[in-house]
Protein backbone atom coordinates (compact mmCIF):
# COMPACT_ATOMS: atom_id res chain seq x y z
CA UNK A 1 0.00 0.00 0.00
CA UNK A 2 1.30 3.43 -0.90
CA UNK A 3 0.78 6.48 1.22
CA UNK A 4 -1.95 8.52 -0.46
CA UNK A 5 -2.06 11.46 1.91
CA UNK A 6 0.65 13.04 4.06
CA UNK A 7 -0.46 15.79 6.43
CA UNK A 8 1.80 18.24 8.23
CA UNK A 9 -0.31 19.77 11.01
CA UNK A 10 1.06 22.81 12.85
CA UNK A 11 -0.72 22.33 16.18
CA UNK A 12 -2.06 19.54 18.40
CA UNK A 13 -5.66 20.64 17.72
CA UNK A 14 -5.03 20.16 14.04
CA UNK A 15 -3.45 16.75 14.74
CA UNK A 16 -6.56 15.55 16.58
CA UNK A 17 -8.91 16.98 13.91
CA UNK A 18 -7.03 15.10 11.21
CA UNK A 19 -6.98 11.87 13.24
CA UNK A 20 -10.72 12.13 13.92
CA UNK A 21 -11.56 12.66 10.25
CA UNK A 22 -9.56 9.71 8.95
CA UNK A 23 -10.12 6.00 9.52
CA UNK A 24 -6.82 4.65 8.33
CA UNK A 25 -4.34 7.25 9.56
CA UNK A 26 -1.15 6.71 11.54
CA UNK A 27 1.26 9.14 13.14
CA UNK A 28 4.74 9.52 11.74
CA UNK A 29 7.61 11.35 13.47
CA UNK A 30 11.12 10.71 12.13
CA UNK A 31 9.86 7.74 10.13
CA UNK A 32 13.02 5.70 10.78
CA UNK A 33 10.91 2.83 12.13
CA UNK A 34 7.71 3.36 10.19
CA UNK A 35 9.29 3.68 6.74
CA UNK A 36 11.51 0.61 7.22
CA UNK A 37 9.17 -2.03 8.64
CA UNK A 38 8.05 -4.05 5.67
CA UNK A 39 7.22 -1.28 3.21
CA UNK A 40 3.44 -1.38 3.78
CA UNK A 41 3.00 2.18 5.00
CA UNK A 42 -0.40 3.36 6.14
CA UNK A 43 -2.49 5.11 3.46
CA UNK A 44 -2.71 8.30 5.51
CA UNK A 45 0.18 9.69 7.52
CA UNK A 46 -0.06 12.53 10.01
CA UNK A 47 3.37 14.01 10.61
CA UNK A 48 4.28 15.11 14.14
CA UNK A 49 7.44 16.93 13.02
CA UNK A 50 6.00 20.45 12.93
CA UNK A 51 3.86 20.45 16.07
CA UNK A 52 5.20 23.08 18.51
CA UNK A 53 3.71 21.35 21.60
CA UNK A 54 5.98 18.34 20.94
CA UNK A 55 9.19 20.34 20.54
CA UNK A 56 11.82 21.74 22.85
CA UNK A 57 14.32 20.03 25.11
CA UNK A 58 15.77 20.92 28.50
CA UNK A 59 16.75 19.14 31.71
CA UNK A 60 13.14 18.68 32.85
CA UNK A 61 11.13 18.06 29.67
CA UNK A 62 12.06 16.49 26.35
CA UNK A 63 9.47 17.09 23.62
CA UNK A 64 8.52 13.87 21.83
CA UNK A 65 9.50 15.30 18.44
CA UNK A 66 13.06 16.04 19.62
CA UNK A 67 15.61 14.32 17.36
CA UNK A 68 17.80 11.85 19.26
CA UNK A 69 20.86 13.85 18.11
CA UNK A 70 19.61 16.88 20.08
CA UNK A 71 19.63 14.76 23.24
CA UNK A 72 23.04 13.26 22.38
CA UNK A 73 24.52 16.76 22.01
CA UNK A 74 22.66 18.59 24.82
CA UNK A 75 25.20 20.04 27.27
CA UNK A 76 22.58 20.58 30.00
CA UNK A 77 21.33 17.00 29.82
CA UNK A 78 24.90 15.69 29.66
CA UNK A 79 25.45 17.34 33.04
CA UNK A 80 22.09 16.48 34.62
CA UNK A 81 21.20 13.05 33.17
CA UNK A 82 24.37 11.62 31.54
CA UNK A 83 23.00 8.06 31.43
CA UNK A 84 20.32 9.19 28.94
CA UNK A 85 22.83 11.10 26.82
CA UNK A 86 25.12 8.05 26.74
CA UNK A 87 22.27 5.91 25.37
CA UNK A 88 21.27 8.55 22.81
CA UNK A 89 24.85 8.57 21.51
CA UNK A 90 24.70 4.80 20.95
CA UNK A 91 21.42 4.86 18.98
CA UNK A 92 21.89 4.15 15.27
CA UNK A 93 24.15 6.35 13.17
CA UNK A 94 24.53 10.13 12.94
CA UNK A 95 22.11 10.06 9.97
CA UNK A 96 19.51 8.13 12.00
CA UNK A 97 19.95 10.23 15.17
CA UNK A 98 19.36 13.45 13.22
CA UNK A 99 15.81 12.38 12.29
CA UNK A 100 14.81 9.61 14.73
CA UNK A 101 12.78 11.14 17.56
CA UNK A 102 12.63 10.42 21.27
CA UNK A 103 8.86 9.90 20.99
CA UNK A 104 9.21 7.46 18.08
CA UNK A 105 11.75 5.40 19.99
CA UNK A 106 9.34 4.96 22.91
CA UNK A 107 6.06 4.67 20.95
CA UNK A 108 7.43 1.93 18.72
CA UNK A 109 7.82 0.04 22.01
CA UNK A 110 10.52 -2.26 20.71
CA UNK A 111 12.22 -4.33 23.46
CA UNK A 112 15.52 -2.96 22.11
CA UNK A 113 14.58 0.77 22.22
CA UNK A 114 17.82 2.30 23.49
CA UNK A 115 16.25 5.26 25.29
CA UNK A 116 13.94 3.08 27.37
CA UNK A 117 16.43 1.59 29.90
CA UNK A 118 17.92 4.98 30.88
CA UNK A 119 14.45 6.54 31.18
CA UNK A 120 13.37 3.58 33.34
CA UNK A 121 16.25 4.05 35.78
CA UNK A 122 15.61 7.81 35.85
CA UNK A 123 11.95 7.02 36.64
CA UNK A 124 10.85 9.45 33.95
CA UNK A 125 7.20 10.13 33.17
CA UNK A 126 5.39 10.08 29.84
CA UNK A 127 3.25 13.15 29.16
CA UNK A 128 0.34 11.91 27.06
CA UNK A 129 -2.18 14.15 25.33
CA UNK A 130 -5.50 13.35 23.74
CA UNK A 131 -8.64 15.22 22.81
CA UNK A 132 -9.73 15.06 26.45
CA UNK A 133 -6.59 16.53 27.99
CA UNK A 134 -3.21 15.56 29.38
CA UNK A 135 -2.20 12.67 31.65
CA UNK A 136 1.11 11.48 33.03
CA UNK A 137 2.19 7.85 33.20
CA UNK A 138 5.41 6.50 34.74
CA UNK A 139 7.64 5.12 31.95
CA UNK A 140 7.56 1.82 33.82
CA UNK A 141 3.86 1.54 32.94
CA UNK A 142 4.10 2.95 29.41
CA UNK A 143 5.06 -0.27 27.59
CA UNK A 144 2.29 -2.85 27.30
CA UNK A 145 4.04 -5.48 25.14
CA UNK A 146 6.24 -5.73 22.07
CA UNK A 147 5.08 -2.85 19.84
CA UNK A 148 2.36 -1.91 22.30
CA UNK A 149 1.98 1.05 24.63
CA UNK A 150 -0.74 2.39 26.90
CA UNK A 151 -1.56 5.11 24.35
CA UNK A 152 -5.27 5.02 23.49
CA UNK A 153 -6.15 5.30 19.78
CA UNK A 154 -5.41 8.85 18.63
CA UNK A 155 -3.44 9.78 21.74
CA UNK A 156 -0.01 11.33 21.29
CA UNK A 157 3.10 11.14 23.46
CA UNK A 158 3.84 14.84 23.96
CA UNK A 159 7.00 14.67 26.04
CA UNK A 160 9.12 12.85 28.55
CA UNK A 161 9.40 14.51 31.95
CA UNK A 162 12.48 14.17 34.13
CA UNK A 163 12.99 14.78 37.83
CA UNK A 164 16.00 16.85 38.88
CA UNK A 165 19.14 14.69 39.14
CA UNK A 166 19.74 12.99 42.50
CA UNK A 167 22.93 14.09 44.24
CA UNK A 168 25.71 11.55 44.05
CA UNK A 169 23.92 9.27 41.56
CA UNK A 170 26.26 7.67 38.99
CA UNK A 171 24.74 6.38 35.76
CA UNK A 172 25.97 3.88 33.19
CA UNK A 173 24.62 2.58 29.87
CA UNK A 174 26.11 -0.56 28.33
CA UNK A 175 24.98 -1.94 24.98
CA UNK A 176 25.99 -5.04 23.06
CA UNK A 177 25.51 -5.10 19.29
CA UNK A 178 27.25 -7.15 16.58
CA UNK A 179 28.71 -3.93 15.18
CA UNK A 180 28.69 -0.35 16.38
CA UNK A 181 25.49 0.52 14.48
CA UNK A 182 23.12 -2.24 15.48
CA UNK A 183 20.02 -2.81 17.52
CA UNK A 184 20.95 -4.07 20.96
CA UNK A 185 21.49 -7.80 21.50
CA UNK A 186 21.14 -6.74 25.12
CA UNK A 187 21.59 -3.48 27.00
CA UNK A 188 21.72 -2.38 30.63
CA UNK A 189 21.25 1.05 32.20
CA UNK A 190 21.88 1.66 35.84
CA UNK A 191 21.95 4.48 38.36
CA UNK A 192 23.85 3.91 41.60
CA UNK A 193 24.08 5.91 44.79
CA UNK A 194 26.78 4.58 47.09
CA UNK A 195 28.63 5.80 50.14
CA UNK A 196 31.81 4.23 51.45
CA UNK A 197 31.29 1.14 49.27
CA UNK A 198 27.72 0.58 50.52
CA UNK A 199 24.83 0.87 48.07
CA UNK A 200 22.24 3.37 49.24
CA UNK A 201 19.95 3.21 46.23
CA UNK A 202 20.14 1.58 42.81
CA UNK A 203 17.96 1.44 39.70
CA UNK A 204 18.67 -1.12 36.98
CA UNK A 205 16.89 -1.69 33.65
CA UNK A 206 17.64 -3.88 30.64
CA UNK A 207 16.74 -3.87 26.93
CA UNK A 208 16.22 -6.69 24.38
CA UNK A 209 15.75 -9.32 27.09
CA UNK A 210 11.96 -9.38 27.60
CA UNK A 211 8.79 -8.46 25.66
CA UNK A 212 9.28 -4.87 26.88
CA UNK A 213 12.21 -2.89 28.28
CA UNK A 214 12.44 -4.10 31.88
CA UNK A 215 13.28 -2.78 35.36
CA UNK A 216 15.24 -5.41 37.30
CA UNK A 217 13.66 -4.83 40.73
CA UNK A 218 14.80 -8.12 42.34
CA UNK A 219 18.42 -7.19 41.60
CA UNK A 220 17.87 -3.68 42.96
CA UNK A 221 16.45 -5.17 46.18
CA UNK A 222 19.46 -7.46 46.57
CA UNK A 223 21.95 -4.62 46.25
CA UNK A 224 20.25 -1.80 48.16
CA UNK A 225 21.79 -1.45 51.60
CA UNK A 226 24.49 -4.01 50.82
CA UNK A 227 28.26 -3.65 50.80
CA UNK A 228 29.22 -3.71 47.09
CA UNK A 229 31.75 -6.56 47.27
CA UNK A 230 32.82 -8.81 44.40
CA UNK A 231 30.77 -11.61 45.95
CA UNK A 232 27.51 -9.68 46.01
CA UNK A 233 28.09 -8.42 42.46
CA UNK A 234 28.52 -12.05 41.32
CA UNK A 235 25.25 -12.84 43.03
CA UNK A 236 23.59 -9.80 41.39
CA UNK A 237 24.83 -10.94 37.97
CA UNK A 238 23.35 -14.41 38.48
CA UNK A 239 20.06 -12.94 39.69
CA UNK A 240 19.89 -10.54 36.73
CA UNK A 241 20.46 -13.45 34.33
CA UNK A 242 17.67 -15.39 36.03
CA UNK A 243 15.27 -12.42 36.17
CA UNK A 244 15.22 -11.51 32.47
CA UNK A 245 13.05 -13.37 29.94
CA UNK A 246 14.98 -13.25 26.66
CA UNK A 247 14.31 -15.17 23.45
CA UNK A 248 16.51 -16.59 20.73
CA UNK A 249 16.13 -14.72 17.42
CA UNK A 250 18.22 -13.62 14.42
CA UNK A 251 20.32 -11.31 16.58
CA UNK A 252 21.31 -13.63 19.40
CA UNK A 253 20.38 -16.52 21.67
CA UNK A 254 18.52 -16.68 24.94
CA UNK A 255 21.52 -17.96 26.90
CA UNK A 256 23.94 -15.37 25.53
CA UNK A 257 21.52 -12.59 26.35
CA UNK A 258 21.20 -13.82 29.96
CA UNK A 259 24.98 -13.89 30.29
CA UNK A 260 25.49 -10.44 28.84
CA UNK A 261 22.93 -8.89 31.16
CA UNK A 262 24.66 -10.44 34.17
CA UNK A 263 28.08 -9.27 33.04
CA UNK A 264 26.77 -5.77 32.31
CA UNK A 265 25.13 -5.41 35.73
CA UNK A 266 28.41 -6.32 37.41
CA UNK A 267 30.54 -4.20 35.07
CA UNK A 268 28.15 -1.25 35.18
CA UNK A 269 28.17 -1.06 38.97
CA UNK A 270 31.96 -1.35 39.07
CA UNK A 271 32.33 1.41 36.46
CA UNK A 272 29.82 3.65 38.22
CA UNK A 273 31.72 3.29 41.49
CA UNK A 274 34.94 4.18 39.70
CA UNK A 275 33.34 7.46 38.46
CA UNK A 276 34.07 9.19 35.17
CA UNK A 277 31.88 9.47 32.08
CA UNK A 278 28.61 7.55 31.67
Amino acid sequence: MKTLAYHRPKSLDEVFDLMASSEDAAYIAGGTDLLVSGGASPPTLISLRSVPELMGVDETRIGAATPVADVARHPGLAASHPVLVAAARRLGSEQIRNVATVGGNLCRAAPCADLAPPLLVLEARAEIVGRGGTREVPIDEFFAGPGETVLAPGEVLAAVRLDPPRTGAQGRFLKKGRVRMDLAIASVALLVEAEGGRCRRIRIAAGSVAPTPLRLQPVEALLEGAELTDEILEEAAALAAATVRPITDVRSTESYRRRIVGVYVKRGVAQALAGGEA
Partner: protein, 161 residues
Protein backbone atom coordinates in the same frame (compact mmCIF):
# COMPACT_ATOMS: atom_id res chain seq x y z
CA UNK B 1 -2.24 13.89 -5.67
CA UNK B 2 0.84 15.98 -6.45
CA UNK B 3 1.83 18.94 -4.31
CA UNK B 4 4.28 21.64 -5.35
CA UNK B 5 6.92 22.30 -2.75
CA UNK B 6 9.88 24.65 -2.77
CA UNK B 7 13.22 24.17 -1.12
CA UNK B 8 16.82 25.23 -1.50
CA UNK B 9 19.00 22.71 -3.35
CA UNK B 10 22.74 23.36 -3.29
CA UNK B 11 22.02 27.06 -2.82
CA UNK B 12 19.38 27.46 -5.57
CA UNK B 13 15.63 27.67 -4.95
CA UNK B 14 13.74 24.86 -6.68
CA UNK B 15 10.04 24.01 -6.99
CA UNK B 16 9.04 20.39 -7.59
CA UNK B 17 5.83 18.40 -7.71
CA UNK B 18 5.90 15.70 -5.02
CA UNK B 19 3.57 12.81 -4.27
CA UNK B 20 2.83 11.74 -0.67
CA UNK B 21 4.71 8.43 -0.79
CA UNK B 22 7.86 9.81 -2.40
CA UNK B 23 11.17 10.00 -0.60
CA UNK B 24 13.69 12.80 -0.89
CA UNK B 25 15.87 10.26 -2.72
CA UNK B 26 13.21 9.80 -5.44
CA UNK B 27 12.88 13.55 -5.92
CA UNK B 28 16.63 14.02 -6.22
CA UNK B 29 17.38 11.10 -8.53
CA UNK B 30 14.20 10.78 -10.60
CA UNK B 31 12.47 14.15 -10.64
CA UNK B 32 15.62 16.29 -10.67
CA UNK B 33 18.07 13.84 -12.31
CA UNK B 34 20.70 14.44 -9.62
CA UNK B 35 22.30 10.99 -9.53
CA UNK B 36 25.26 11.80 -7.28
CA UNK B 37 23.13 10.61 -4.35
CA UNK B 38 23.04 6.78 -4.48
CA UNK B 39 20.53 4.18 -3.40
CA UNK B 40 21.95 1.07 -1.73
CA UNK B 41 19.72 -0.56 0.87
CA UNK B 42 16.76 1.83 0.98
CA UNK B 43 16.49 1.20 4.74
CA UNK B 44 18.88 3.56 6.49
CA UNK B 45 21.69 1.02 6.92
CA UNK B 46 24.27 1.80 4.22
CA UNK B 47 24.44 5.61 3.97
CA UNK B 48 24.88 5.69 0.17
CA UNK B 49 21.93 8.12 0.07
CA UNK B 50 23.41 10.53 2.65
CA UNK B 51 22.62 14.22 2.04
CA UNK B 52 22.66 17.30 4.26
CA UNK B 53 19.36 18.84 5.35
CA UNK B 54 19.89 22.20 7.05
CA UNK B 55 23.52 21.18 7.52
CA UNK B 56 22.82 17.78 9.16
CA UNK B 57 23.38 14.39 7.55
CA UNK B 58 20.24 12.34 6.89
CA UNK B 59 19.36 9.23 4.90
CA UNK B 60 17.48 10.49 1.81
CA UNK B 61 15.90 7.02 1.49
CA UNK B 62 14.02 7.51 4.77
CA UNK B 63 13.14 11.20 4.36
CA UNK B 64 9.57 11.89 3.22
CA UNK B 65 9.93 14.34 0.31
CA UNK B 66 7.10 16.55 1.57
CA UNK B 67 9.08 17.28 4.74
CA UNK B 68 11.75 19.04 2.70
CA UNK B 69 9.55 22.09 2.03
CA UNK B 70 11.32 25.29 3.09
CA UNK B 71 14.50 23.47 4.04
CA UNK B 72 17.98 23.58 2.60
CA UNK B 73 19.45 20.46 0.99
CA UNK B 74 23.09 19.87 0.03
CA UNK B 75 24.01 16.92 -2.16
CA UNK B 76 27.44 15.83 -3.34
CA UNK B 77 26.94 17.99 -6.45
CA UNK B 78 26.77 21.00 -4.14
CA UNK B 79 30.32 20.53 -2.90
CA UNK B 80 31.84 21.09 -6.32
CA UNK B 81 33.62 24.45 -6.54
CA UNK B 82 32.77 26.93 -9.29
CA UNK B 83 35.87 25.91 -11.24
CA UNK B 84 35.12 22.18 -10.74
CA UNK B 85 37.81 22.05 -8.08
CA UNK B 86 37.67 19.19 -5.54
CA UNK B 87 37.56 20.15 -1.86
CA UNK B 88 40.59 19.41 0.36
CA UNK B 89 38.58 16.54 1.87
CA UNK B 90 37.90 15.06 -1.56
CA UNK B 91 41.54 15.48 -2.57
CA UNK B 92 42.68 13.64 0.56
CA UNK B 93 40.29 10.77 -0.12
CA UNK B 94 41.62 10.41 -3.67
CA UNK B 95 45.25 10.67 -2.58
CA UNK B 96 44.88 8.08 0.19
CA UNK B 97 43.17 5.42 -1.93
CA UNK B 98 39.97 5.91 0.05
CA UNK B 99 37.91 5.88 -3.15
CA UNK B 100 37.78 2.59 -5.00
CA UNK B 101 34.48 1.72 -6.73
CA UNK B 102 33.17 5.06 -5.44
CA UNK B 103 29.59 4.01 -4.69
CA UNK B 104 29.85 4.94 -1.01
CA UNK B 105 31.94 8.05 -1.66
CA UNK B 106 29.23 10.74 -1.95
CA UNK B 107 27.78 9.65 1.39
CA UNK B 108 31.17 9.28 3.06
CA UNK B 109 32.21 12.73 1.87
CA UNK B 110 29.03 14.40 3.14
CA UNK B 111 29.28 12.65 6.53
CA UNK B 112 32.92 13.67 6.91
CA UNK B 113 32.12 17.19 5.66
CA UNK B 114 29.41 17.58 8.33
CA UNK B 115 31.79 16.23 10.99
CA UNK B 116 34.56 18.69 10.11
CA UNK B 117 32.02 21.52 10.13
CA UNK B 118 31.01 20.86 13.73
CA UNK B 119 34.35 19.49 14.93
CA UNK B 120 37.37 20.71 12.92
CA UNK B 121 39.78 18.66 15.01
CA UNK B 122 38.26 15.18 15.42
CA UNK B 123 39.95 12.21 17.08
CA UNK B 124 40.21 8.86 15.34
CA UNK B 125 37.26 7.59 17.40
CA UNK B 126 35.16 10.63 16.51
CA UNK B 127 35.84 10.10 12.80
CA UNK B 128 34.84 6.44 13.05
CA UNK B 129 31.73 7.38 15.00
CA UNK B 130 30.68 9.95 12.38
CA UNK B 131 31.07 7.32 9.63
CA UNK B 132 29.23 4.48 11.40
CA UNK B 133 26.26 4.99 9.06
CA UNK B 134 28.33 4.78 5.86
CA UNK B 135 29.18 1.27 4.67
CA UNK B 136 32.10 0.80 2.29
CA UNK B 137 32.55 -2.63 0.71
CA UNK B 138 35.93 -1.84 -0.87
CA UNK B 139 38.41 0.13 1.19
CA UNK B 140 38.26 -1.48 4.63
CA UNK B 141 37.77 2.00 6.19
CA UNK B 142 41.39 2.55 7.28
CA UNK B 143 42.16 4.68 4.24
CA UNK B 144 38.94 6.64 4.71
CA UNK B 145 39.68 7.43 8.37
CA UNK B 146 43.26 8.43 7.52
CA UNK B 147 42.07 10.66 4.68
CA UNK B 148 39.58 12.48 6.89
CA UNK B 149 42.30 12.98 9.52
CA UNK B 150 44.63 14.34 6.84
CA UNK B 151 41.94 16.71 5.53
CA UNK B 152 41.31 17.95 9.08
CA UNK B 153 45.04 18.61 9.53
CA UNK B 154 45.24 20.42 6.18
CA UNK B 155 42.13 22.52 6.83
CA UNK B 156 43.41 23.33 10.31
CA UNK B 157 46.79 24.53 9.09
CA UNK B 158 45.16 26.56 6.28
CA UNK B 159 42.96 28.45 8.74
CA UNK B 160 45.97 29.07 11.01
CA UNK B 161 47.72 31.21 8.40
Amino acid sequence: MTLDISFSLNGAEVVVGVRPHQRLLDVLRRTLGMTGTKEGCGEGECGACTVLVDGRVVNACLYPALEIEGRSVTTIEGLLGADHQLSPLQESLVARGAIQCGFCSPGVILSAHALLDRNPNPSDAEIRDALVGNLCRCTGYVQIVEAVQEAADRLGSESDV
